[in-house]
Symmetry: C2
């Protein structure tokens, strides 16, 4: 195991806690948000900028990098970090989520999943063993078990069989995994069903992982459903290991999940929204392309102290989008990630001051999701 | 006049000279290359990056900024520099070139040019007075007279009438121009014809400008034709004022033009080529998207000391282009501009050491245009 997790402070009135994750590359404070660098780059940003707007850990996508440029070339560069010249912490997912969400004509068997490339249609196959082998070459500090991510509302019988298979796959992945400098996470599935979620966690704990993730959320279910799953599963997860909620999220989801005891997050939202001109502010998101902002001399988020908000007007940012200049998505991506980094920093401080609910109340008094 | 030009060293064996241009924003060494920031941004780059890869002067396009977002909004920001937060030197063109190259259904009259917007088809009108008034609001240190830029091989009678009109337009522009903190350039036209070029220069000198530009080159004529025009016109231009060759250029054209006594250049080439994956190296341009570079662990230009070449492999850069990540065009734009900046620095040093021909010979021994 290459990961050390320490809880520094447990909030008195909720499951929220602050802590640190120590990896070979450094120590990172939790709760933390990881920007997504799908193709060995966080879209529009340089690594210098990533370091300015994150805690220093990013996520890479195994599916995309396996297909382009291939794990062999990345291994030749000493892994994703060498390839993209990133010195921070790195997590790769297993490829499972993309196989189930992007590919078509997939056939799930005990051995693994046969599917077609989401663009070229090429026939491909991914298994628990293969996912781990690819992730070893990609070289992240934190890697994920290959799981099935079924639709949240799949029928119970299917979900039960899927959870059981995911447990068997997790065991095969763990048996395959060799690199001692990587920490392998188990992923809890089970959709909305408490018994299946608990069974999934139980199975994974029996196999024994150094950290656990919650998968199969933020896949189209309602916020109430997501929070309800967190309500029952997070307190049952080991306290002394980081809890990672995959694919979340929005400011409101981050706050609700931290309150329920989650330590780590990733999501494409801040950068994807930015590319469409949607920017976080303390009052909620604003669509910077709108005519409303044509002559707006204010900062993007007047209360933000990031480089973009300190430097540019809304009118200039709107102009960049209207003129289809890539600096527009770049500056808003920078701001949106900074907004989430600051949100995590504020939550961490609020936890340590036992003022988490005060923070949450103040935040939602202003922020309109 | 806000511009002071000093020749520091005149090369003994050619028209080449080194010097400095002092503007309200600072002093800049010549010969110099200005990156093009058409829409108040040098495509893909931040202002911090522009400062790293240029002498510190950029060009903005009046035509584009007049149409989007409009000069009034830019004036409200204190000009283009305030709008884009750029602290260096700035030159705006007159809009004439774009009116003649981008728009359609244009009608040229003595008063000015009526034309249709290159995208929307909206009816528009630009005149010498209007161009100067817009440029005063855009607020550059250096602004350009509104000229006609006819095809290089337009017939002699047309070219003669056009040059005469451009002289009348130059006078009207000068009479309109108010801002003392801006230097207005006259633009020499006349296509390939020595007599018309000399007449154009003579007319402009009679009106009296603080600096002169050579227009109507790099518009599709052969390199030999361009160099021939420079051969006869540059030595006739005032020695004590900067000579600006508009829309040039390539490394080979920059060298040939500096040899012929030009001090200032601008061109979209380095950034436009970069967006298509074409990168300057000391051996010539390389198409980084080519399969040839798939596993190439070398730096983009092994002899370059820029941040990109010090940091990334060709294989990573190719991956970024294949994956359609905007970091690719951004990193290659950075490198290409750095390449030209370094070329200008090397020429300046070679001039001052009276070793310009040695430099030129060594450069072309390796560089394949």
């Amino acid at each position: 195991m290459s990961l050390t997790f320490k809880v520094h402070h447990q909030h008195v009135a909720s499951e929220a806690r602050s802590g640190t994750i120590t990896l070979p590359s450094g120590t990172y404070q939790t709760p933390l948000f990881m920007p997504v660098g799908t193709q060995a780059t966080v879209k529009t940003l340089s690594v210098e900028e990533i370091n300015q707007v994150s805690e220093g850990i990013i996520l890479g996508n195994t599916y995309h990098l396996w297909l382009q440029p291939g794990e062999a070339l990345i291994e030749k560069h000493g892994g994703i970090r060498g390839f993209m010249n990133f010195g921070g912490g790195l997590l790769t997912d297993s490829g499972g989520y993309q196989v189930f969400s992007l590919s078509n004509r997939r056939v799930i068997k005990e051995e693994g999943v046969s599917f077609k490339h989401h663009k070229s249609g090429e026939a491909l196959f991914l298994s628990p063993e293969k996912s781990i082998q690819i992730q070893e070459k990609l070289g992240a500090d934190m890697i994920m078990s290959f799981d099935e991510c079924p639709p949240f509302h799949a029928d119970y019988a299917y979900m039960k069989a899927s959870v059981e298979r995911t447990s068997r796959w997790a065991k095969r992945g763990k048996d395959t995994h060799q690199r001692q400098d990587q920490t392998l996470f188990g992923i809890i599935q089970g959709g909305p069903h408490e018994d299946l979620r608990l069974k999934s966690l139980h199975d994974l704990k029996a196999i024994g992982f150094d950290a656990y993730a919650i998968g199969g959320l933020s896949v189209g279910e309602s916020k109430e459903e997501m929070y309800r799953v967190l309500d029952f599963i997070t307190p049952k997860m080991p306290e002394d290991k980081p809890r990672y909620l995959m694919g979340v999220g929005t400011p409101e989801d981050l706050i609700e999940a931290v309150e329920r005891g989650v330590d780590m997050f990733d999501c494409v939202n801040p950068t994807r929204l930015a590319r469409h001109g949607s920017a976080y502010t303390l009052d909620g998101r604003i669509p910077i392309k709108a005519a409303l902002y044509k002559d707006d001399m204010r900062k993007l988020d007047p209360s933000c102290d990031c480089h973009v908000c300190q430097t540019y007007t809304r009118a200039y940012l709107r102009h960049l989008f209207k003129a289809e200049e890539t600096l527009g998505p770049r500056l808003v991506s920078y701001h949106n990630l900074y907004f989430l980094k600051k949100l995590m920093d504020q939550m961490r401080r609020a936890i340590e001051e036992n003022a988490f609910y005060e923070f949450k109340t103040a935040f939602f008094a202003r922020y309109k999701p």
